[in-house]
């Protein structure tokens, strides 16, 4: 405890230096904008701004990118509440009751509850991250290749299980991502796989062009030809204050959303998006008046908004402590850290305490900045939504080209972005999720390496995965999940997805992580 406080003091001494403070603030502002703009989710936003961080030192770069991530979680709620358009996928559930509140003239309180809930959840989950990551990292020092292999397999299975659609489709997408990750030079033998004469593919397919293509470009392709969105309601400052009853109704959902979101965010493989769905379902189930949900219940805003912010911090636990991303966004963050010469994993906290604790402290600072940004300045940000989409999407497209090219100075990456954009467009038309592709792509080299290293360790004996207790436990959990998901397939019964109201999400349209 004392040691943690000392470390936190070290962290704040880093986070409160003017440059780190500036980048935390800049990240939060950019993140809020990214979260609000339909078509630029946090994933595409982080990917696009990655080249802009190349000139920064590692701490500033990571603080900036993390600010964009949790800023987008805050910003996404604004468009959901005011326009019924989720700026990013985790805000889909906020659309339902948030927009109903707007129609009833309670847009201000909905925004205020979302911002306060996000602040509380964000701050408490950073506290949990602070206490959980170091012991987890110490535990992970015992991990060898078999444990990492089991963890990665478990991560992919959990992601598929937690996905909103069908599990075979999600797993197929993960397999597709893993296959894309096979392109390039095999690190163990030096064999150049699937290059088709393109030397640029030597390092494999980059995660940035794929992420921007699958999320940014495909969103533009799907929405550019559609009719213009509805008019924007602009709340005044004095309308923001919730009533006493609204505060009272929101307190427990914020608390539950925080705990739930953190736990879901921490699971390797699960997406932060799901936390808001589970939180919404939980609040609806616990409510004495479930019929109010869907008609402007403030709990339906407070719970999911808290959960998605909490999950955003929770997702950093496996990334920082184990070096294993828990979803596509941490996967891009991981790639960004590697660009800056940092290898996240069990040794990060020991070897670079200023970076780790500075990052933690900057998250506390970021949450305060976001609360200030999202309450009094919401009217200012809303003006951005008045830009007509026919002007917005060409600008976003130009930034996509810029961002993707700038990572490696390679036009091959621009081609990959265009191709994966077309792929993402078709996949979403056919009701496939694209997040597992990005995760598969990032995990592929780790998965293959850990499998081959494990077999080299055991002299080719596959029993190594079941004779080591940690690896065996993780594989057992993965197989159990697989069997659980097969049950509704065999019995034709409803599985958990239906019970948490994921059909509501379908009714709201496509997702956009």
């Amino acid at each position: 405890m004392v040691e943690t406080l000392q470390n936190l003091y070290l962290g704040f001494s880093v986070a409160l230096t003017p440059s780190v403070l500036f980048y935390a603030f800049a990240g939060c502002v950019i993140g809020t904008l990214v979260g609000m703009l339909p078509g630029v989710g946090p994933l595409a936003g982080i990917s696009l701004l990655l080249p802009a961080t190349f000139g920064l030192n590692a701490t500033n770069a990571i603080v900036l990118l993390a600010g964009i991530y949790y800023g987008a979680m805050y910003g996404g709620s604004t468009t959901s509440i005011l326009m019924r358009i989720p700026g990013e996928a985790a805000s889909v559930m906020t659309c339902i009751d948030g927009y109903e509140m707007t129609k009833k003239g309670r847009a201000g309180p909905a925004l205020a509850i979302a911002a306060v809930g996000s602040y509380i959840a964000g701050t408490l989950s950073v506290l949990a991250l602070m206490f959980l990551a170091p012991p987890l990292a110490a535990f992970a020092l015992r991990f060898g290749p078999p444990e990492y292999f089991a963890l990665l397999v478990l991560g992919l299975l959990v992601l598929a299980y937690m996905s909103s659609g069908s599990m075979p489709k999600a797993l197929a997408m993960a397999a597709l991502g893993l296959l894309l990750g096979m392109i390039g030079i095999d690190t163990m033998t030096g064999f150049f796989r699937f290059h088709y004469g393109l030397v640029e593919l030597g390092d494999g397919i980059g995660v940035v062009p794929v992420a921007v293509g699958l999320f940014g470009i495909s969103e533009i392709l799907l929405t550019a030809g559609l009719p213009t969105p509805p008019a924007v309601h602009k709340p005044r400052l004095r309308e923001l204050l919730p009533s006493r009853q609204e505060w009272r109704d929101s307190a427990a959902p914020i608390g539950r959303g925080t705990v739930l979101g953190f736990l879901i965010g921490i699971i390797p493989g699960s997406a932060h998006i799901i936390s808001s769905f589970v939180s919404y379902a939980l609040e609806r189930r616990l409510s004495k008046h479930p019929e109010r949900f869907g008609h402007g219940a403030v709990e339906g805003v407070a719970g999911p908004e808290s959960a998605n912010n909490s999950a955003a911090s929770g997702a950093f636990v496996p990334m920082l402590a184990l070096g294993v991303p828990s979803g596509p966004i941490p996967a891009v963050m991981l790639a960004a850290m590697m660009v800056h010469g940092i290898s996240p994993g069990p040794l990060l906290i020991q070897q670079q305490p200023e970076l780790f604790w500075g990052f933690i402290a900057s998250m506390y600072v970021g949450n305060v900045v976001l609360l200030i940004l999202n309450l009094p300045l919401v009217g200012l940000f809303v003006n951005l939504l008045r830009i007509p989409y026919p002007f917005l999407y060409p600008a976003i497209l130009a930034f996509c080209v810029l961002g993707v090219y700038a990572v490696n100075q390679s036009v091959v990456d621009v081609w990959i972005m265009a191709a994966t954009g077309a792929l993402g467009y078709l996949l979403r038309k056919f009701d496939f999720e694209t997040a597992p592709i990005v995760l598969g792509l990032v995990l592929a080299p780790m998965l293959e390496m850990s499998l081959r290293q494990s077999l080299a360790m055991s002299g080719g004996n596959y029993a190594i995965f079941v004779t080591r207790p940690i690896a065996a436990t993780m594989l057992f959990v993965g197989v159990a999940l697989l069997l659980l998901s097969l049950r509704p397939l065999l019995t034709r019964g409803a599985d958990w997805r239906r019970s948490v109201g994921l059909e509501d999400k379908r009714a709201l349209g496509e997702e956009n992580p």
Partner: protein, 147 residues
């Protein structure tokens, strides 16, 4: 009946077959000592299996004809814009490429007034170049006349 999932699943199976065929050039190794072709082949088999499962379970998904393609024309034009950017970026430089791309999307696709198109295209291309290249030191390609 041709349903959405049956078509998508069949394409996945086809992709798996093509990938498995492509791995023939790679040394497979053995089960106990996998070579560079082992994992791609294994993944292709898994993808094929999952694709088949999607086909088998796809009877209840919406019919293919129910898919609406009203935005497809726009989508193809935007993809053509991306392809142009990929070809032109290192030939024309960042600024000229973005000017042409924006002029096409705003002027031709969205039918905005020429003065507006010119203002947005010039402002955005030069503005973003200044921000990223001059201020953030991100190297961006230059074309003829140093543009």
């Amino acid at each position: 009946m041709l349903t959405r999932d049956r078509v998508a699943g069949s394409i996945l199976v086809l992709l798996a077959v093509v990938t498995a065929w492509e791995t023939r050039r790679l040394p497979l190794g053995t089960l106990h000592n996998p070579g560079p072709g082992y994992m791609p082949l294994l993944l292709a088999l898994i993808l094929g299996l999952l694709g088949a499962l999607v086909v088998l379970r796809g009877g209840g998904s919406p019919p293919l004809r129910a898919l609406r393609w009203s935005e497809a024309g726009h989508a193809v034009a935007i993809l053509a814009g991306c392809a142009f950017a990929a070809v032109a970026l290192e030939q024309l430089g960042y600024r000229l490429t973005v000017i042409v791309l924006l002029a096409f999307l705003l002027g031709v696709m969205e039918r905005k007034r020429p003065a507006v198109v010119a203002a947005v295209a010039l402002g955005l291309s030069f503005g973003s170049f200044f921000l990223f290249s001059n201020l953030l030191r991100v190297p961006l390609p230059r074309g003829p006349w140093g543009l």
